[in-house]
Amino acid sequence: MGTETLQKTPLASRCEMSGGKMVDFHGWLLPVQFAGILAEHKAVRENVGMFDVSHMGQLFIEGKEAWPFLQYVSCNNIKNGPAEGTYFHILTEQGTIIDDAIAFCLSPEQFLVVVNAACVHTDFEWLTKQAKKFGVTVRNESDRWGMIAVQGPKAVETVNCMIPGVEDLPRFHISPLTMFDAEGYVTRTGYTGEDGVEIMLPSDKIGLLWDELLKHHVTPCGLGARDVLRLEAGYLLNGEDADQTRTPYEANCGWVVKLSKENFIGKEALVAQKAQGLKEKLTGFVLTTPGVPRSGCKVFVNGEEKGVLTSGTFSPLFKGIAVGYLASDVAVGSEVEIEIHGRRVRAQVVKPPFYKNRV
């Protein structure tokens, strides 16, 4: 398929001008890398980098029952204090994962839900269907917004020059902002394991922010670096590490499930699974011999197949790292073998995250 049929973000031409090597990501034309994945990884871990995340979706939930509705479609407790954000999973009745998302409380009757690009339509249809039981509307504004994630130990101080006061925004909080004569939002969030912010502006203004960040020597980063950073931080890639065949318990996200909540979609299934116990769970692996593990590689214990990788990469910090579904009877700390290109290499079972930071 030619790249001309792909959807373009409002930053696509700027990404190409910055040297971005553009690829097809779930139907979107996005940069996989600029100067190089290792250099971009280093920029985010040690300084500041930026990502075009305009492909991500923005759904607005509005109405008197906005919060009870979100409580019903989320397995986590959605915070409803002013400006608070909550990471959560949208589940099927079977308790399996449709998407992972963040809900921000704009007012008691209005929430902004930021969802994965590949799931925008599925999420929108699912939420719209559920909304019929509540007095709420679901609006898909994904095409209206551009979004840039600015990440790294220097991210907040850099952005503070452009958005004064952003340094006082607590983690997982949202603030409205006015920039380039347009209304937008800034959130103290990201998917890299570093501190940082994500800024949403209307599509026709987001390019001006990109230009401003370039002037402040923020390193443009692509999907390649983003994947290494999120895997090091132990974050799920929905569609790879989780999908509609896996529950949050299996995906090592039990902390997102609040069974103490009165009712939510998928609760019964999760209660049953918790009682039964898990056959498999998403687990981390660190190679103890050289090699680069990849999605699809099989995991063996004493010659017996016990699991399969869903994400793997070369980490500049930890060398070969991966996550995958492993039989529950294999304990953390166990020595296993991973088959890469027909060769078996040794690895150790670990509990993610690989990279632990203050955020």
């Binding site: 190089g36 390649g224 994947d227 990469t313 070369f314």
Partner: protein, 126 residues
Amino acid sequence: MYNQENCRFAKTHEWAFAEGDVAVVGISNHAQEEISDIVFVDLPKVGQKTEVGKNCCVVESVKSASEIYAPVSGEIVEVNEALNADPALVNREPHGNGWLFKIKMANPAELDNLLDFNAYQATIAK
């Protein structure tokens, strides 16, 4: 060291440089640019027999794995151990210290089936 003008190239971007009946094998500058940050090279075993076009080595970048095909038939007689400690040598010196392995050629006439530098350049020109 192995000047590209004196190398023979496979369409799959490997080069071969003849030293008597031994061919030194590496990947082209174009290939290393496309692969970018090389982080691991899974080298063949010394003594291993290989044939033209057979996958005998894997070059890994952060993002992907690239199979390397033998440009000539023969036996692997040496591998570049320096790549175990510094795989990025392939990026920095694809025609020098970033060579991959050496093949004792079963049939040196196979070199004639490979492209010369100019013909290879023409295949990668956009």
